[in-house]
């Protein structure tokens, strides 16, 4: 055993120093390498998870917004249609009314004109009767005068 220890230059103190070296390095690397790196890896993981969550929330909000937009559009369409329908029916009613009044007016005008024309006709007839009578009397007078 002594020979082996001698051949390899084994020295317990050197082994202890090396174990202490290991301890020092482990503590130092723990402070400068392992802890900070593991911490930053964890931070990054958290951040990515947060980012994914945010993205999901945003996507959901977007979907909701688009759904709302669709419903608003549909509503507006329906309302517009109804308004147009109502307007059309109102317009139809008014047009019918106007037509009716116009027809009535036209009828009235026509009948009045007929009456007037009848009156004028009869007046003209009467006038002409009177004139014819006068003319006849005059003619008779003329004839009588010549005979006389």
């Amino acid at each position: 055993m002594d020979e082996i220890i001698n051949a390899f230059g084994i020295d317990t103190r050197l082994i202890i120093i090396q174990v202490v070296n290991f301890g020092i390095l482990m503590v130092a690397l723990g402070y400068f390498l392992y802890k900070p790196i593991l911490r930053v890896l964890k931070e990054r993981e958290d951040k990515i998870a947060q980012g994914l969550q945010d993205a999901e929330a945003a996507a959901q909000a977007k979907a909701e917004a688009s759904e709302e937009k669709q419903s608003i559009l549909t509503n507006a369409h329906m309302e517009a249609e109804e308004v147009a329908k109502r307007a059309k029916s109102a317009a139809d009613t008014i047009a019918a009314e106007i037509m009716a009044t116009a027809q009535a007016k036209a009828g009235a005008v026509l009948s009045e004109a007929e009456i007037k024309s009848e009156q004028i006709k009869s007046a003209a007839l009467k006038e002409s009767e009177k004139e014819i009578a006068t003319l006849a009397v005059l003619a008779a007078e003329k004839v009588l005068r010549q005979q006389a």
Partner: protein, 273 residues
């Protein structure tokens, strides 16, 4: 006269070559290939021998501490390239340990030891391969003593690593199962077969100290020796593929050391059946 002169000349040349050959051979035995199992002792510090491998270890530690101080002490959320590498190593080892141990708590507990073994051994192996590591040194009465030498070629250092791994494994077993249950893995009287198997387990458990330390020592020492021999005989080009191979071996040995520690921790914390 001329002929004599030429003959003389030839004789002179002959002796010259002969002597120069002897001189080279002499140099080879003296300063050329010099392989010893012991670490080089450079001096003494507080009564403790100061070895070249110990100096190399301290320089390696200094480089690692200063390097990580500047690279990863305050990591950014958006990483730089070097920080990405640090994240890959640290995060990768952590994930791997969590998977193997099947527990975040256990992974967190033994993570610093396992990853420090990996990083420390890897750094020691790779820094040991840097040119100049064996070349810088002192002359003592005509003997050359390098100041820097690949650390894992010193059994003191690999034994220290093996002890750390061994103690970690046993402590992990005791903490996870309790002293009596853990001891019961090795010494039990359920049946004669169980008793024999337990004793075999105990022997293989203790043999790990030797296998851990000598695996690393043997690989790195053999690699260093191979490089030294090759560089002595064929200094140009031939060592290049060997250098590449030693870079690979340096990584593999660090990896194997850390992964075996991890696996044995897993074995130790597993309930006996």
């Amino acid at each position: 006269m001329v002929a004599y002169g030429r003959k003389n000349e030839l004789a002179f040349l002959g002796t010259y070559f002969m002597f120069s050959f002897i001189a080279t051979a002499h140099a080879a035995s003296e300063a050329g290939i010099h392989v010893v199992l012991k670490p080089y002792i450079v001096g003494e510090l507080f009564g403790v021998p100061l070895t070249a491998t110990l100096i190399t270890t301290w320089i390696t530690m200094l480089l690692l501490i200063v390097g990580t101080f500047f690279v990863s002490r305050k990591p950014a959320l958006i990483p730089t390239k070097i920080q990405s590498i640090a994240e890959m190593v640290v995060g990768g080892v952590y994930e791997y340990m969590s998977n193997v141990l099947e527990s975040r708590i256990l992974a967190q507990r033994y993570f610093p030891i396992v990853i420090t073994i990996f990083i420390f051994v890897l750094a020691l192996n790779w820094i040991g391969l840097l040119p100049g590591v064996t070349a810088v040194g002192l002359y003592h009465d005509g003997h050359f003593t390098p100041l820097l030498y690949p650390a894992a070629t010193d059994l003191n250092i690999t034994v220290a690593f093996a002890l750390i791994a061994f103690v970690t494994i046993e402590v992990a077993g005791v903490v996870a199962l309790g002293t009596f249950k853990y001891l019961g893995k090795f010494i039990n009287f359920h049946s004669p077969l169980a008793f024999v198997l337990g004793i075999i387990e105990l022997i293989s458990e203790i043999a790990r100290l030797i296998s851990f330390s000598f695996r690393l020592f043997g690989n790195m020492f053999a690699g260093k020796t191979l490089l030294v021999v090759t560089m002595f005989f064929i200094p140009y080009l031939a060592p290049v593929p060997l250098y590449a191979f030693e870079v690979f071996v340096g990584f593999i040995q660090a990896f194997v050391f850390a992964v075996l520690t991890l696996f044995f921790i897993k074995v130790a914390v597993t309930e006996p059946h």
